[in-house]
């Protein structure tokens, strides 16, 4: 996909996020799902190597959604990428569904791991990266964390070890939207200077605009710095794309009414 097509994919995803949230008639993690849409669109539309007809292809790139509550920005990307059907996508948050509020490992649907509890995904990604290196496989491991998630001590255990093990086949992206469940991250547990912190831990760290697809693409795909895991601190807006949700933590986890749905969908724009 070219960048215009990726922008279009992001609009398609936002539309589907809103429709699935309305249809389930339950609270959903809209804010943190919308903030990652450009990141997952860039990954699933252009960067990741995978085969929807063969989801367990051994040489596929791996993607772990460590911030498991971001599923709306993940399932909608899997839908756009043809990994899950529209019929399956429509079961979002239905009783007994494969697509609930946090990912449940499902190789057939391209969901690599079960998440939801924060601070687990980067450790698993390190295991996947070590396995790829040991098996002389060239695929890459991508893992998406939340900034609030970085409050977890286990995240820092894994940050240290990825650098120690020189995993240059590992690319982490941190959704740096600066809002967590109880409010402003800077007031709760300030991660200020996150990319500098990560750089000092031995990572190839950079700041990117997490809603700028060309910038994300370039940062994800430039050649690795030998022996260094890479991290993109993706500056994002929680609730991105829907004006009344942007930077409004009421939409961390909330139910979409018909009236709000209509206001929101009008802002998404037409799919080409």
């Amino acid at each position: 996909m070219n960048f215009d097509e990726l922008e279009n994919m992001a609009r398609f995803m936002r539309r589907n996020i809103l429709e699935a949230s309305l249809a389930c008639n339950l609270s959903a993690h809209l804010g943190g799902g919308l903030s990652i849409v450009e990141i997952t669109a860039t990954l699933y539309g252009r960067v990741l190597r995978f085969d929807p007809k063969n989801p367990s292809w051994a040489d596929r790139d791996r993607f772990i959604l460590s911030k498991g509550h971001g599923v709306l920005g993940f399932y909608s990307a899997l839908l756009a990428a043809g990994m899950i059907s529209e019929e399956t996508f429509k079961t979002f948050q239905h009783n007994g569904s494969d697509l609930i509020a946090h990912p449940v490992m499902n190789p057939a649907l391209g969901i690599e791991s079960s998440n939801g509890s924060l601070g687990h995904g980067l450790s698993m990604a390190i295991g996947l990266a070590l396995a790829a290196r040991r098996k002389h496989q060239n695929h890459k491991i991508y893992v998406l964390l939340g900034d609030g998630e970085c409050n977890e001590g286990s995240v820092w255990e894994s940050i240290m070890s990825a650098a120690q093990f020189k995993l240059d086949n590992l690319i982490a992206i941190i959704d740096y939207n600066q809002l967590q469940s109880d409010g402003d991250s800077r007031k709760i547990m300030d991660l200020g200077g996150l990319s500098e912190k990560l750089g000092s831990f031995g990572w190839d760290a950079c700041d990117v605009d997490g809603h700028c697809i060309p910038e994300l693409f370039s940062a994800m795909t430039r050649p690795p710095r030998p022996g260094c895991p890479r991290v993109l601190v993706a500056h994002t807006v929680k609730g991105k794309g829907i004006s009344f949700m942007e930077n409004n933590n009421d939409w961390h986890h909330n139910r979409l009414t018909q009236a709000n749905f209509e206001r929101a969908i009008a802002e998404v724009g037409e799919i080409q």
Binding site: S117, G121, S123, I126
Partner: protein, 325 residues
């Protein structure tokens, strides 16, 4: 495979449970190129020096970071490796409990979490290092198989059985060095299948880990008092061999469980959970550690203090039996 002979049994007993685990892993490595062994900076204390030196590519020290270790183990297992992740019992079972729940339980990844020095074996290092509650916690996590081998020979059996068993496990190693020998000769070992070591008609002594040998010694002492005991090695705490329990229910007058673990949540609880479903069963005496953090001491001192030596066990079981006889 490592064959149990009288000479091996003597040698392995001197190595103790940690040294034996290291030997078994070393023997396994040659036959399993997919083996990976992870340690949270306790490789030396876990008997893994020779493995690390012989197979450096298959050994990973993740630093003092048990949570990260289990996540990494999960990732490696997902890609087809057989992963043994090791640390001291409380650190692996409690510091990393939720990682075990997610990776081994929820995702059923093929990781064997190995608890070194469980029970009271850490002696004067104190309660911070004891494994008092680990079996209770691990047993409650869906999909986990929990095994607690009876002696060094059975540690070797467990390691080999674990490697060929596809699925998550918690392996609980009790005992220190110069561990008493239960098995002098080779025998068939199967995860989930208890082993009856002795048949008797009065009391069933159902033991796990270090308490299996103590149960055999207790049975001999009770025999001298005219009481005949069955002794069962319940090496697998989950899934529990309920068939053997049902047999004992109808053939004995008192059932006794013995474990170097809190009386809450371990073997005794597992047996009680099963027996509770029966209209009639013999009384059940659960012998284990009291629900408290007690004073520390050397391992033999602790076993005596907690009433887990054959002499003390004989008194306890005899007194209990007199109440029903």
């Amino acid at each position: 495979m490592m064959e149990i002979t009288p000479a091996n049994a003597r040698l392995w007993s001197r190595l103790g449970s940690r040294g034996m685990f290291g030997q078994a892993i070393l023997a396994l490595a040659g036959s399993d190129p997919k083996l990976m062994v992870l340690s949270a900076d306790l490789g030396n204390s876990s008997g893994l020096e020779r493995f690390r030196n012989s197979y450096p590519e298959q050994f990973l020290n993740v630093g003092i970071a048990e949570q990260n270790m289990i996540g990494i183990a999960g990732g490696l297992a997902k890609e087809g490796f057989t992963v043994f992740a090791t640390s001291f019992a409380p650190f692996i079972s409690m510091r990393a409990a939720e990682q075990i729940r997610m990776n081994l339980g929820y995702m059923e990844l093929n990781v064997k979490a190995v608890a070194i020095g469980s029970g009271l074996a850490m002696g004067l290092l104190g309660n911070s290092h004891y494994g008092l509650e680990d079996a209770a916690i691990m047993r409650a996590i869906p999909n986990l198989t929990v095994v607690c081998p009876a002696d060094c020979g059975e540690i070797a059996k467990t390691v080999f059985a674990a490697a060929s068993h596809h699925g998550p496990m918690y392996i609980r190693l009790t005992g220190s060095v110069n561990t008493p020998v239960v098995y002098q000769a080779d025998y068939p070992f199967e995860i989930g299948k208890a082993i009856t070591l002795r048949e008797g008609k009065d009391i069933a002594l159902i033991a796990t880990g270090s308490m299996v040998h103590a149960a055999l010694e207790t049975a001999i002492r009770l025999e001298a008092k005219g009481i005949s005991c069955s002794v069962v090695n319940m090496h697998t705490l989950k899934p529990l061999d309920t068939g053997v329990l049902e047999h004992l229910c109808t053939t004995t007058k008192l059932m006794v469980t013995l474990e170097e673990h809190s009386r809450i949540g371990g073997l005794g609880s597992a047996v009680a959970e099963h027996l509770a479903g029966f209209g009639q069963h013999p009384p059940l005496e659960i012998i284990g550690l009291a629900d408290k953090f007690d004073k520390a001491g050397e391992y033999p001192y602790l076993l005596d203090m907690h009433g887990l030596t054959p002499e003390r066990l004989t008194e306890t079981v005899f007194t209990r039996y007199q109440r029903i006889a």
